[in-house]
Symmetry: C2
Subunit: 390 residues, 2 copies
């Protein structure tokens, strides 16, 4: 029966993440796509659909209809593979995976490409700050000067005050990201930073400084998803999507119950673990959405890796590659980079590489399950996937 | 077994289509949503997900993440109903319906809201022409001055030349749209136009004039979809989604085999009819994507309502409400209006009203099946649904 059909990651591909001034949106999309196809050993004409995650290409590059662009420039427009774009701001990539997952579960499709792309360095300065603020409530947050960094700073200040936490706790998230990214060849940043450097960088929105804020990166990530019946028929190996959860919360920060908890993350992670039939203790490592260091802290607490206000107990000692719960082996949003629409798909690339034992220098020993956490804006939507298992 | 579970339209709602200068994106979205909920007799907390179709809100209103906006302002953010935005330029609404359909087919969801919205009159003139050109290939069409109207004019001129067709044939599409819209209380235009008026309006992009071009409208449409098991459990009546097809073609017009055939429409309509198990003769009426009159002509020929070059044989005599094949009883894109992301959802509203016998003055006698046709840009993606039947 098709409905119990599991969905597998069959292969992955990425472009470099970084400031890719000499490369266009379509070039990096296609590079990631062709890498994923090669990694999967499939033919493009076998694809049933393409889902593209993208947040801002309309505003940055004047280009909507990214799905059609991808299909055409990958050279498969003649093969009638339908493409759509999925957008949930900074969670667009994970949302695209979610839709592709459902489309295979529906029995309509067997083999689906999911791409995520963002080209963020075409514009700079106040114009880019305004565009990135389109992921907030335009009329009630952005219009009054709210930016993503400013909103995150509110959460950080309240968190630090209520729990008597110092900047070292926030900084530890970024230090860990940079260390892991130094072993990821496609990462935006390859430099290691010290806790001292991370705590004393240029202020952005107090108490957050430059090292608390993920960069605006160009980049594309792509995965190929396949139905269980396809995997069996073709005798392929892959990594199972074991569970997923998607949850919603008020759009604007001022409507929320708490400044340092995203209810959507609490709910989405519970759903995902329930569906996978595992507990948090079974998770070998996690990729969390640390667009700002405070959001990494909040995610660890919202998902139960640490009690509320106690993330310091793990982030200073236990989140390294060899720690009790490795966080962001890819380098995370801070150091692998943060191309909005690509990030959520990129987390699946990291999960695939780690679980297949192909992560090179940053390989975690014998991982079984990965938890992947993606957030839209300041938490209006959270999407959590559990990947791995038998 | 869930996989054979059909998907039904349970209720619908719309805002007015038109130039709604005193109303915001979120207001019209919520109006359409609440109308659909009331029409369906459901409680918002029973919704499993919300899909929003939108094309240009980022570029026009600086607002991405429309899904979260809709959920919040409809007052259901506290009920943890996940929302995503689907974008396929001018086919965004139909694409959102397609994804919602798959999500119910997957067995994950039973009751899903699909909204489509666009607020297009916030900006005018060259700025708006540039934004609407983001649905084309930015680097190879829009950059060189191509606009949606200019691309359609190329198709129109070639069609008229190759088949010796006069402007009356194109104009007949718009005349029919205006006549039907005069009986649709939410339509953008309520005025009837003569063939002479339609043929001799202000030029826009020769040979297309103002009456060949759908307006830029504000508007929102919403439908509630439900699984068969939900319908049975709750004892509800609705209209079945009997078949669907989604197909892809080269992005830019210059890559296509023909200027006056959209291969994606040919393929999508065949798929949809096959899945519904019906032939074109079984279709009681069609809503076609006539963003420009020539696209209406091309759609009728691509889907087989008329042989290639022969649409004149039907559009001058057989497409009225009482004709052999009524086209666009809603008023179509030209006269009901063309809010990009709403249009594809709005077609489902018309199908529901007609098939439930609730279409008022424009009611078609005893319709059984509706064909709904939506196009992204100049045809890169076409989406066709068949609605109705037992």
């Amino acid at each position: 029966m098709r409905l119990s059909n599991d969905v597998f990651i069959l292969g992955t591909g990425e472009s470099k993440y970084g400031e890719l001034w000499d490369r266009s949106l379509r070039e990096i999309s296609v590079e990631a796509g062709l890498n994923a196809i090669e990694s999967s050993g499939i033919r493009t004409k076998d694809l049933d659909a393409i889902y593209m995650g993208n947040s801002l290409a309309g505003m940055i590059s004047g280009q909507e209809n990214i799905g059609a662009l991808m299909s055409d420039y990958a050279g498969i427009a003649d093969e009638d593979v339908p493409t759509l774009r999925i957008e949930a701001s900074t969670a667009s990539g994970a949302a695209a995976v979610h839709q592709a997952f459902l489309s295979i579960k529906s029995g309509e499709y067997d083999l689906v490409m999911v791409g995520g792309v963002e080209k963020m360095t075409e514009l700079y300065g106040t114009e880019m700050i305004d565009i990135s603020s389109s992921i907030l409530d335009r009329e009630w947050e952005a219009f009054f000067g709210g930016t993503p960094a400013a909103m995150a700073a509110l959460s950080a200040r309240k968190y630090m005050k209520d729990f008597g936490v110092g900047k070292d706790v926030l900084a530890a998230i970024s230090v860990n990201d940079h260390k892991n990214a130094s072993m990821n060849p496609i990462a935006h940043f390859s430099n290691i930073i010290s806790l001292d450097q991370a705590m004393n960088s240029t202020p952005v929105a107090e108490p957050l400084n430059l090292m608390d804020c993920a960069p605006q990166s160009d980049g594309a990530s792509c995965i190929i998803l396949a139905s269980e019946s396809y995997m069996k028929k073709e005798g392929k190996e892959g990594v199972k999507i074991a569970g997923n959860g998607i949850s919603q919360e008020y759009f604007a920060l001022h409507s929320r119950d708490s400044l340092y908890s995203m209810k959507s993350t609490v709910s989405a992670s519970r759903k995902a673990l329930d569906r996978a039939g595992i507990s948090l203790d079974d998770v070998s490592f996690a990729e969390v959405h640390d667009s700002f260091s405070i959001y990494g802290i909040m995610a660890l607490e919202d998902m139960g890796f640490a009690p509320r206000g106690k993330a310091r107990d793990i982030v200073l000692s236990e989140i390294g590659l060899n720690g009790r719960i490795p966080i962001n082996p890819s380098g995370g949003l801070k150091a692998k980079g943060f191309p909005y629409g690509a990030t959520g798909v990129g987390q699946f690339v990291e999960a695939y590489l780690q679980l297949m034992g192909k992560a090179g220098k940053r390989q975690i020993a014998d991982p079984e399950y990965a938890l992947l956490h993606s957030v839209a804006g300041t938490g209006s939507t959270s999407i959590v996937h559990i990947v791995g298992g038998e």
